[in-house]
């Protein structure tokens, strides 16, 4: 595969180049895309075009994993799994008596306009996204809770509290509340009426848990390597109480 570095051996990058912007030059033999001559990153082009076996037990892409741990946790095939019961998490028991609210499954998917927390609080992005970090609710469910589009809502559980305005939408499934991750805690964050403190960011109401199957190892592709394979912090989802509030103060 030495031809992948053809024409690139005399590349020079000066320090001032790196200060100006990140540079991308060589195709690495261990990552999965050929990026020569400015070609856009596209996963697995290295495997397909250079006939490099996938770095798995069989050298192919895996859909099914027959590792004992995966079998035991029912994670051997990527199939539909119902949402867990909130009592399994014990993150809402104390808050249950604190105020009236509806218990919903809180999820924090990738945002439309940011990779994690990349500088989303600038005026351009805030102008394009309703001037805040909207909480997405199912429209019919919101109506049942007497919540209208753009009303202020408070999300709270035993971990923390999140206060923003909401969007009511038909594309959100019932029983679910969305906040795109990851929000900053700098711009337009009010005081929580319930807890009387500055409200938090999207991860203030989640908690890091270890996913057991990610601790499996010694099996082909499941071999620990820093930032490559190992237990990750799973802090995306939980359950929260959602309630409508009057306009809060800053």
């Amino acid at each position: 595969m030495t031809h992948l570095s053809d024409g690139q051996r005399d590349t020079r990058i000066r320090f001032s180049d790196l200060v100006a912007q990140p540079r991308r030059v060589l195709t690495t033999p261990t990552w999965s895309a050929v990026i020569n001559k400015g070609r856009a990153y596209s996963p697995f082009t290295l495997n397909v075009e250079e006939l490099v076996p996938w770095r798995t037990l069989t050298g192919r892409q895996h859909f099914y994993l027959d590792h004992e741990n995966y079998l035991e946790w029912g994670e051997h095939l990527p199939t539909y799994k119902p949402r867990p019961d909130h009592t399994m998490l014990s993150e809402t028991e104390i808050s249950a008596n604190e105020a009236q609210g509806r218990l919903l499954n809180y999820i924090t998917p990738h945002g439309k306009w940011s990779i994690h927390s990349t500088y989303s609080e600038n005026i351009r992005m805030k102008t394009l996204s309703r001037g805040g970090y909207p909480v997405w609710l199912n429209d019919k469910e919101a109506a049942e809770m007497d919540i209208k589009d753009n009303d202020w809502v408070e999300l709270f559980n035993d971990n923390g509290v999140f206060v923003q305005r909401c969007i009511t939408s038909a594309r959100i499934p019932r029983g679910t509340v969305f906040v795109y991750h990851a929000t900053e805690r700098t711009v337009g964050i009010p005081i929580s009426p319930l807890r009387q403190k500055r409200a938090g960011m999207n991860n203030s109401i989640t908690r890091t848990r270890l996913k057991p199957v990610l601790m499996s190892g010694g099996y082909g592709q499941f071999t620990y390597s820093f930032n490559y394979w190992g237990p990750t912090g799973v802090n995306r989802d939980t359950f929260v109480y959602v309630r409508k509030i009057d306009k809060p103060s800053y």
Binding site: R130, S169, G188
Partner: protein, 503 residues
């Protein structure tokens, strides 16, 4: 034949991901100024939705565009005699609430806030008054909100879509949307130009860009009302109207407009179209259902010797004719018949074109379930054979683009599907069988054309997407200023001073 050249943009909506990179590129470049905060010369709308400014397509309210009557066509805003009588009366003008009150945040509080038991936060303030504000609208307020009963349900293009389908579009299983990026359409029959009492707006001869002469503008704002696309904005600080300039300083130096250049989905194409200016009146006065056909007819074939001769007589140089022959916009609009202007029925002869979006899957809900049990050998052809079940109703697209003419849209979607199915069968199944060939024929295309469409849609290089003619600014500068070297590197003309507030 009076041949003129036009720079046109084409938007391939099937590729738009709604990232708004285009809007941000434009805003940073041109409208990051006092008085221009609310101007989005390029904006992206979620459809079905109400757009920006809210409900701009409601011409009963805004009175934009032209109307056909017994004399020919007239501005919907007002007839000429009326315009003089009503010079100081402009009730169709959109107000701040139809746009939004621009806001920012008191970012400096993050550094300067006095000590407190809470961490500091930057509160939202009005960009006009500087006072704290409750944010209640924005230029992209109903982003991704198709299916909404408060926003999308008011989209006028849903007219004629059956109640049952509209109901289904509000359910999570069938909610569907596409994105619609919009700039000024640099129309052939621009209502903004016709409405201006000061004659401040003009269409450039060389490439058709419609510009406001800021020195002549007297803030009547008739253009704002008359433009059916609401693409002229009034600067409250300078007291002048402003609009998209198609990045002419970039085009003159061989670069694509900032929105097109930055487009992440690579949905935009730029190229020259030659047209017959003698036929503009004929095209603009056509019957409703012929509007689009007539507009297409006035776009000329750049390979036709008679057209080339007439173009040269009109002073269009070889570089432009050559460029017109390479134009990707010409291919999509005229050769492949795949593109339509937005709201042909406004009669402004919009010169930016759109390829309508394809729906992902056939979708009919039967007894509460989306049907997925289509036999395997039929899967590929299912949508092709039942376009009436397309998830985004054809009627909707027809209202948006072709003045309600569904046949125009169906033909385009069939061709797009033929490309998709043909290439899928070729690369995934490895066979082009008789059924596929029959489908290709019924879509009024050929395997060769499909290959060409496929290449220009999915694999074009930047030089194939943006085909620029030589602008020869040095010749224009010489004609006007005598010494071309004295103005080397200049783009545009005049306007080097900030505008003064009109008298």
């Amino acid at each position: 034949m009076n041949v003129r050249a036009h720079m046109s943009m084409l938007f391939h909506l099937d590729k738009c991901i709604g990232c708004h990179t285009c809007s941000v590129a434009c805003k940073n470049l041109w409208t990051d100024r006092k008085g221009a905060e609310y101007m989005w010369w390029n904006n992206v709308e979620t459809r079905p939705g109400t757009g920006y400014p809210t409900g701009w397509e409601d011409q009963d309210h805004y009175r934009g565009g032209w109307e056909k009557n017994w004399v020919g066509i007239e501005l919907k805003l007002q007839s000429k005699p009326k315009a003089i009588a009503n010079l100081f009366y402009n009730p169709a003008l959109p107000e701040l609430d139809d746009y939004y009150e621009p806001f920012t945040f008191r970012y400096e509080d993050l550094f300067n806030a006095p000590e407190s038991k809470h961490q500091p936060t930057a509160v939202p303030i009005s960009a006009i008054t500087g006072d704290p504000i409750d944010i209640e609208s924005g230029p992209n307020w109903d982003d991704d909100l198709s299916g909404s009963t408060i926003y999308a349900a008011n989209d006028p293009n849903l007219e004629g879509v059956s109640e049952e389908v509209r109901q289904q579009m509000g359910e999570i299983e069938r909610v569907v949307f596409n994105y619609l990026p919009r700039i000024c359409n640099h129309c052939l029959n621009p209502a903004c130009v016709a409405a201006c009492p000061s004659g401040a707006i003009y269409k450039r001869g060389e490439d058709g860009v419609v510009l406001v002469n800021e020195d002549e503008c007297r803030a009547w704002r008739m253009c704002v009302s008359a433009c059916p696309y609401k693409k002229v904005y009034y600067n409250w600080s300078t007291g002048k109207s402003e609009k998209c300039i198609l990045c002419f300083p970039r085009m003159e130096t061989g670069q694509a407009p900032a929105c097109a250049h930055s487009c992440v989905g690579r949905i935009r194409y730029m190229g020259v179209l030659l047209y017959d200016a003698d036929l503009i009146k004929w095209a603009a006065e056509g019957p409703d259902d012929e509007m689009f056909d007539r507009q297409k007819e006035i776009i000329l074939d750049p390979f036709d010797p008679a057209v080339i001769k007439a173009a040269k007589e009109n002073g269009i140089d070889d570089g432009w004719i050559d460029s017109a022959q390479q134009s990707p916009v010409y291919k999509f609009v005229k050769v492949w018949n795949m593109a339509v202007p937005l709201h042909a029925e406004y009669r402004t002869l919009a010169m930016m074109f759109y390829i309508p979006p394809l729906s992902p899957v056939v979708s009919t809900i039967e007894e509460g379930l989306v049907r997925l049990d289509i036999p395997r050998e039929r899967v590929d052809f299912e949508l092709f054979n039942s376009l009436e079940k397309a998830r985004l109703p054809i009627q909707y697209l027809a209202n948006l683009f072709s003045g309600g003419n569904e046949e125009v849209i169906e033909k385009i979607l069939r061709k797009m599907l033929a490309v998709r199915i043909y290439k899928r069968r070729e690369s995934v199944e490895g066979i082009i069988d008789d059924a596929t060939l029959a489908m290709v024929e019924s879509a009024d295309t050929t395997p060769e054309e499909i290959e060409a469409i496929y290449r220009l849609t999915t694999l074009p290089t930047i030089a194939e997407r943006f085909v620029y003619p030589p602008y020869h600014r040095e010749m224009a500068a010489e004609a006007i200023y005598g010494d071309p070297l004295a103005r080397k590197g200049d783009v545009g003309f005049g306007y080097i001073m900030p505008p003064e507030r009109g008298p």
